[in-house]
Amino acid sequence: MTRDSVLAVFEQFREDIDQGNDRRERLIKASRDVTNISKKAIFLLHRIVLEDSPDDRALARRAAASGREKLSEAHAIFAAMRPELVGDRFWRYHRQVSPGVQEYIEALSFAHYVEHDALISYQQVQDTIGDADGPFFPLTLSDYLLGLSDLTGELMRFAISNIARRGGRPKANQVCAFVRGCKSDFEAFVPHVRDLSKKQSVTANSLEKIEAAAYAVAVRGSEYDLPPEMLDDLVAQTTSK
């Protein structure tokens, strides 16, 4: 190659690289936006769930609905990402997209749990990332599992903040069983999903915190020969404003 042809070839490389960099930057930005929306949705859920309400089910439904509404903003961003992630591009930029998707799954599964007391399935998540024409981009197994792992941390916060509320104690026990189930279900995937092992130990940590909270409640109630709900009522009487 002559000097000029070398420069011409590198000119072409520059264009390729710039194009790739720009796309990467756009996707990072989109992913960050999704992350922010998801974090806000999670905060919103925590906030509403702690409100005073006579009907816990209704409150949960309202919280989930608000969370999902917030998350619909992410849906629009995902839709806009479709052309950037078509064909072999998805895997090329997966690392950039992943953080947003995982945070989204965390928020979505939190809303789902609050409403249904159950884990959202892989297919259910994939269905929300797409429209009538099919998925905007494929959902990876690893994003799904890592997003759910983060859910356990939020559930821990949920259980502990909730514990002082009326009905918070049985809820804490329920969350405890649920997180225990998640942890053991995910165990088999650990050797094959990067970073899952780290997240499992965070989950183990959260689980211990929930267990400690449930224990504290059980122990404190144990001195009284009364059913827990009556204890709750007594406390409520004293502390109600």
């Binding site: 905060f43 925590h46 906030r47 702690l50 916060r157 502990i160 903040s161 514990i163 002082a164 909270a213 504290a216 404190r220 009284y224 204890l231 007594l234 406390v235 009487q237 004293t238 502390t239 109600s240 404003k241």
Partner: protein, 222 residues
């Protein structure tokens, strides 16, 4: 290199060293004062309600004397360089805010506002390019106060003060929900905020204990 230029460069470099030394000295003093204040406030845990006002009164002068420090620091900082040096005293100022907020609560049951905190520390509006109280530092101070109250609540009950838990519970719940409204970045403040829920839980447990033992008459609070 032109000797005159060299001299100027050196003067610039040495000036910074001078500023830094002056601030360091003041921060040392600040730390000492803060240590004394925190030391006295440590006694709240064994002080019965009746003696509390006297205890708080004894801290106030020391706290107010921090104004000398803030004035000296503000005086040492060249115009516009607040952001260059602020990390040097952020620990001290957070501790001072903590103290002011704790005193405010124990005296009046109310929450110290950011402008009021600035005022107590003698921070003046016209210093703003040299010394101010950043939101982050104010919020750190509040969190420290809640940490301390979760300990205080236990000791108050030990000393026979059965009203305090309810009052603190409501106060802390209010602060907690305030924090949930803030858009915090993923930094140390966020992590410390996360710790508040344990304080809240601890306080709730005391409320629970006390309520069930019917040690407080059942009556509408506030």
């Amino acid at each position: 290199m032109d000797p005159l230029d060299l001299e100027k460069l050196n003067a610039l470099l040495e000036h910074d060293v001078g500023v830094s030394e002056k601030i360091k000295e003041q921060v040392k003093e600040f730390d000492k004062k803060v240590r004394i204040i925190v030391g006295i406030l440590g006694k709240i845990h064994s002080t019965p309600t009746t003696s509390m006002p006297a205890l708080l009164d004894s801290v106030s002068p020391v706290l107010l004397s921090c104004r000398d420090i803030t004035t000296s620091i503000a005086g040492a900082i060249p115009p516009d360089q607040f952001w260059r040096w602020k990390d040097m005293w952020s620990n001290s100022i957070r501790a001072a805010v903590f103290a002011a907020a704790l005193i405010e609560y124990l005296r009046d049951g109310s929450l110290l506002s950011l402008p009021r905190a600035s005022e107590i520390l003698g921070i003046q509006e016209e210093w703003k390019d040299r010394f101010s109280l950043p939101v982050e530092d104010y919020l750190h101070g509040l969190i420290s106060m809640v940490n301390e109250l979760s300990r205080y609540v236990v000791n108050a009950v030990t000393l026979g003060n059965y009203e305090e838990p309810m009052r603190i519970s409501n106060f802390v719940k209010d602060i907690f929900s305030g924090f949930t409204m803030l858009n915090l970045k993923n930094d140390s403040l966020r992590r410390r905020f996360d710790s508040l829920k344990y304080d809240l839980k601890k306080i709730e447990e005391v409320v629970y204990d006390v309520s069930l033992r019917k040690l407080v008459v059942v009556k509408p609070f506030q």
